[in-house]
Symmetry: C2
Subunit: 351 residues, 2 copies
């Protein structure tokens, strides 16, 4: 893991740990935290479901597993700050970690659909958002507060949002949210709240700092603040290069370039291009079909790498035939979110 | 109207006819045709529904209106070739019309949901696509053939796809598809087949030239051909400037710049920026909320226009916080589709 901070623990997967793997091992799955990892006694833990519901619920993990049918979903999680490093190279972003392309990982999640739990509680008139609360207190929030967030009801009742206790066929590790976490497929990782303890159905989005102030796209010259900019939800089309990984010289000649591409929510990736000349000409990569509507797609292309330094460039196209913006400068924003400009990797080829 | 061709009739709305209007008047609604406009006797006309259905249907217009509940939907149609002119300026695209930003228009459509008609016919196992056939023979197709196309079943049964006989509260004009046309909200106009006469439920997409060969995004160096490239469906995020319209000098000083922005299918536009310095700095425009999930959004910003020549630049952001690519060069493709690079308009300010 490439560790950005130890407290709170923030670490991304190195390129080689992601390359060519549909799912990411728990040992290299990225960790994005805003406070200390809580220690929760799973036997004493209860999930509370309240707010605009007919029947507030209090459920133990055993009750949750007994009362509702489990579902497995393959889903990629991606931090809104993934690839921030490319923005920092344009202009500094004080106080934010320089995430590379490894703030994204994929797992097979096991849990119960949030939709089923909400149906059991019964939605009342005025229900528009579903808020999630966790116990991990963040000193980085203003004022310091436990982590929280929300999603619109339309997404919450889609059936694809899970309350998950399993990850890659094993129990969810503590570091990734045990005993129970939310998994919101296709949305930024910030909404997949870990160590879930309360679900509140409400008329408005969560007032939590991480919903109302952070995780919003703010125009370049504006100051982040409550309600400023656009709240981030579904993940924008993005891609990056995983192999070669740029950490060591490679031999010149035929070289397989691989990477991932991902488009959130209902979109899929339909094409990936690779360029050796900075985007003047492109060659189309072989692209895997999506394994689920919410999983990344790997791609590969064998290029003829000349001796010396080359900048490998990659870009993806989504199912609307939209592609990524060219330059990180044109998507720079004060909090450093959603860098989905073309992927660029410097590689050195020495015989 | 700005007429590109008289036979077949192809004409776009001038900027001033679109500016500031949620719906586009029938007299200036863009027309994109591949063959002659057919003359159909509405009394003799019948709609045939067949293929993978339990009960093939033959319906007169009266039967269609009596048997099914009508629905109104506000939807923007947009030609996949909208803004092709910007691509032609990069590299010539022989045989294709140089559409400006007016190959898009918005209307209130009245009709019955395709979903209801399909339910009445009963879907059989293996149904995956819904094909539409029209009588207008295109000599531009290879080989010459009547116009047709298809959409996936998932979209067809969404409830938002209409079989429409009304436009802006009046009977659908002959030029826009009377007696009945398909309206596929959020998808490229090519799938909203006019003069509909047959709906075929089938396992595969339509083999019609305009589905299998045209209206596909082909890589720059490839040749268009059956199955080459990516079939176009949902409309990519896009925007353009409508006022000033660049046709005549304007006075310098405070000038209201207006335009449209649109993102197909489930996306909405959340922000529009305007730049007077080619994209180095941006100012955020005021943006209308979407009137329906499938309608464009107008925007406006008062800028201080200096004397002389200025290039106005605009770009939109969608609900995933994705924005448009900078340059038409990087999205150039042999058929000239989906130019969703930044909008640029040259204006001259003279006192």
């Amino acid at each position: 893991m490439l560790v950005h901070e130890w407290e709170p623990f923030n670490a991304e997967s190195p390129r080689h740990a992601l390359a060519g793997r549909l799912t990411t091992g728990v040992e290299s799955f990225y960790s994005r935290n805003h406070g200390p990892i809580p220690h929760i006694d799973p036997d004493a833990w209860r999930l509370r479901v309240d707010g605009l519901v007919d029947r507030p619920l209090t459920l133990s993990l055993g009750e949750l597993r007994e009362r509702f049918a489990a579902r497995e979903i393959m889903a990629t999680l991606q931090c809104a700050g993934n690839r921030r490093q490319g923005l920092i190279e344009v202009r500094d972003i004080p106080g934010e970690d320089p995430w590379g392309p490894g703030a994204t990982s994929t797992a097979l999640w096991t849990g119960v659909p949030l939709a089923d739990v909400l149906a059991a509680a019964g939605l009342r008139a005025g229900a528009e958002h579903v808020a999630f609360s966790a116990p991990d207190v963040s000193l980085l929030a203003d004022p310091p507060q436990p982590y929280g967030g929300s999603i619109p009801l339309t997404k919450a009742i889609s059936g694809e949002v899970l309350l998950a206790w399993g990850m890659n066929g094993r129990p969810l590790p503590q570091a990734h949210g045990a005993p129970l976490r939310v998994v919101v497929p296709g949305w930024i990782g910030a909404r997949s709240v870990k160590w879930l303890r309360e679900i509140t159905v409400q008329a408005e989005p969560s007032a939590n700092y991480f919903q109302a102030t952070a995780y919003r796209l703010v125009p370049p010259e504006a100051q982040a603040g409550p309600g400023v900019g656009v709240s981030l939800g579904p993940v924008a089309l993005n891609c990056d290069i995983l192999r070669p990984d740029g950490t060591a010289p490679v031999p010149p000649g035929p070289t397989e370039v691989t990477g991932y591409a991902y488009a959130g929510d209902d979109r899929s990736v339909v094409r990936v291009d690779v360029s050796l000349d900075g985007g003047r000409t492109w060659e189309q990569a072989e692209l895997d079909a999506p394994v689920s509507p919410w999983s990344w797609q790997h791609w590969r292309l064998t290029v003829d790498l000349p001796p010396g330094e080359t900048v490998l460039t990659a870009r993806a196209w989504d199912s609307t035939a939209a592609t990524q913006p060219e330059s990180p400068a044109s998507v720079w924003n004060p909090k450093g979110y959603v860098n989905n400009s073309w992927a660029r990797l410097h590689v050195t080829a020495t015989p």
